[in-house]
Subunit: 377 residues, 2 copies
């Protein structure tokens, strides 16, 4: 039996609750498999680590992550460790991304079930059929350029950040976007987003993305959008951006959050942060097995509802599915989980509309959703 080591980082707030359900799902997959065993190990990370050790990412947790095959995270942070705190949980997340080389952040925004349309803030005719995958560069740009704080000389009255990109950084994320586009049948179009009418880093972005795709993936459709225009289209006519949105770190942060509210609840959406070179047996089987990937729901730690057992675990469960697919090469159980989630949301046997947690106007508990997914699997 092949053993995979999965590091689990429950984190803060509702993190432990939603992770618990995804862990049960992974354990079910492990128990059902004749050739693979998943070994799950839990570590402190985020605000809980700040409280215990004074830092968000300890050497022990980092080492465990580096030696793992994949990492499943819940959510970190909260008002307790606010923007003005000396040690902030987010710093741990940024350090972890950098240390693991997680340059490719994949965030799908689509409807796990059509029955969720009613929960979208957009009119049904506009929301129906939205299927956007944001591929965000995650360890470059203004997040990791040199910066200077207020009060530091020279120019004590000013502060600045640098948005930097190199050719190779843009090439590698463009290739990931291309592979994601090719994994679909028919292949998805790529919408590269930048601010090339103003920024030098965006002009580099546009040039390198264009050349890489023209030279290496001439079969893919490519267009370019300015970030201000893209942020309009995501509200006014999001289907125009169906396919892959390829963009840099800060724009990806903004646009992926913007598009993630279309499907009606943040609680539904997963994400993957990937490192290393993609390996592709055939277009449909894209994996990132050389280095551990980090998987997490896109929602935050929601301290206001923590401890009540009412958070939606679907984003985390779908993150576990992405983990199986990309880091372990287990596409079949990944698909089975995704199908189970769809059934849970749709099933007419328990409640008229399927199982719904509070974020979707229902009264089912975090555990009810986990139970049902496990049962279906």
């Amino acid at each position: 039996k092949k053993t995979f080591r999965i590091v689990v980082l429950p984190g803060d707030g509702i993190g432990p609750e939603v992770v618990a359900e995804a862990v049960r799902v992974l354990e079910t997959v492990s128990a059902a498999s004749s050739d693979v065993e998943l070994k799950l190990e839990t570590y402190d990370f985020g605000g809980c680590a700040v409280d215990k050790y004074g830092i968000a990412l300890t050497e022990e947790t980092l080492q465990a992550c580096q030696q793992a095959d994949a990492i499943l995270m819940g959510a970190i942070g909260g008002p307790k460790w606010g923007v003005n705190a000396k040690v902030r949980p987010e710093q741990g997340l940024l350090s972890l991304r950098k240390a693991l080389g997680l340059y490719a952040n994949i965030r799908p925004a689509n409807f796990a079930s059509e029955s969720l349309l009613a929960h979208s803030p957009l009119k049904p005719a506009i929301a129906q059929g939205v299927n956007i995958i944001v591929v965000r560069e995650l360890i470059g740009g203004a997040y990791f350029g040199t910066r200077k704080e207020l009060g530091v000389s020279p120019d004590e009255d000013a502060a600045w950040d640098t948005m930097t990109y190199s050719v190779s950084e843009v090439q590698r994320i463009t290739r990931v976007a291309a592979q994601i586009a090719l994994a679909a049948d028919p292949p998805l179009p790529i919408h590269s987003v930048d601010k090339a009418n103003v920024l030098a880093s965006s002009r580099l972005w546009r040039k390198v993305a264009t050349e890489t795709l023209q030279n290496e993936y001439p079969q893919l459709k490519l267009d370019h959008q300015l970030v201000d225009s893209a942020s309009m289209i995501i509200v006014a006519n999001p289907k125009k951006l169906n396919g892959v949105i390829l963009t840099e770190n800060l724009f990806g942060d903004i646009l992926s959050d913007e598009s993630s509210v279309i499907p009606g609840s943040l609680g539904l959406l997963p994400s993957a942060s990937l490192a290393g070179a993609p390996s592709v047996a055939n277009y449909a089987e894209l994996t990132f097995k050389t280095t551990p990937g980090l998987y997490e729901p896109i929602h935050g730690s929601a301290p206001d509802i923590a401890g009540q057992g009412i958070a939606n675990p679907i984003g985390t469960i779908l993150s576990a599915a992405m983990l199986l697919r990309y880091s372990l090469g287990m596409d079949k159980p990944a698909k089975a989980i995704e199908e189970a989630v769809r059934k849970v949301l749709d099933s007419r046997d328990i409640g008229g509309e399927g199982l719904r947690t509070a974020d979707l106007g229902g009264s089912h508990k975090t555990k009810d959703i986990g139970d049902k997914v496990v049962e279906i699997l």
Copy 2:
């Protein structure tokens, strides 16, 4: 009679068509006034200037703008002068903003008439009552920091931009936001948007905005939003951000465009770009009379419909109203124009739903709208 000099920059695409109607409206105001005369002079600016003179902003146009009391612009640019062109119209706009010191960009996003709710991409319950004024810093940040292009040494394979802010830059835009908030009765809350959990320039922003408001405008409500979270809220629950969104240049570019699609058509919304110190006789009468302000609709040059006389001139007409208010201190005719526009959109006497151009599903012409506004005035 006091004479005001207004420079008119029709620009490209539909620019001249929509500006023509706003000019008629201003001429009507001028003719009706016993103590004020408006002198309008037209200059080349944008793509049309690139074609004629090889640059978007000529010395002559710049000088005229500098000597004017206010500037009314249409729209500039188009595929003819694309991102890869050597001389881009946008460069002229950025130069003009910088040369005139236009640090404060004011962009309201609200429903000129409730009858437009049907045109919003958001569900009526979510869109109804949205009333957001974005106050965007316009001549700082990544737009005007030092940058390095790809292919330039050192580091020929990289490109970068610098996002810089100084204490005084943030103070002055914060004061404008505060004055805009106080001009409403009751005063509006201020939502300052930054990315203080990552960027040094945002930490400066948050600190200075907080201190300026606490010290100088303690009566105003202030909260802080991270830009990724703000971009979600604008879609999911925009009324939560009703009031003034105060933010830096690049975030303001993205968020103002995002919020501008809520009212259903970009053709409806005006903007003001202001310089100099605000002068305030009483809270309700905020003006920027010491330096010329630039007023323009938020839409682009829409080359696809140019020359057909079907563009919506309302955004430009409402920009002329802002011009009267902020640059000339003529609040009364400004209000009269705004009221006339509301009537045009609502009036049941011509067509069941008022007058509507193609962007709102109607078949009225650019000129029909202008005619009716002039008639009502």
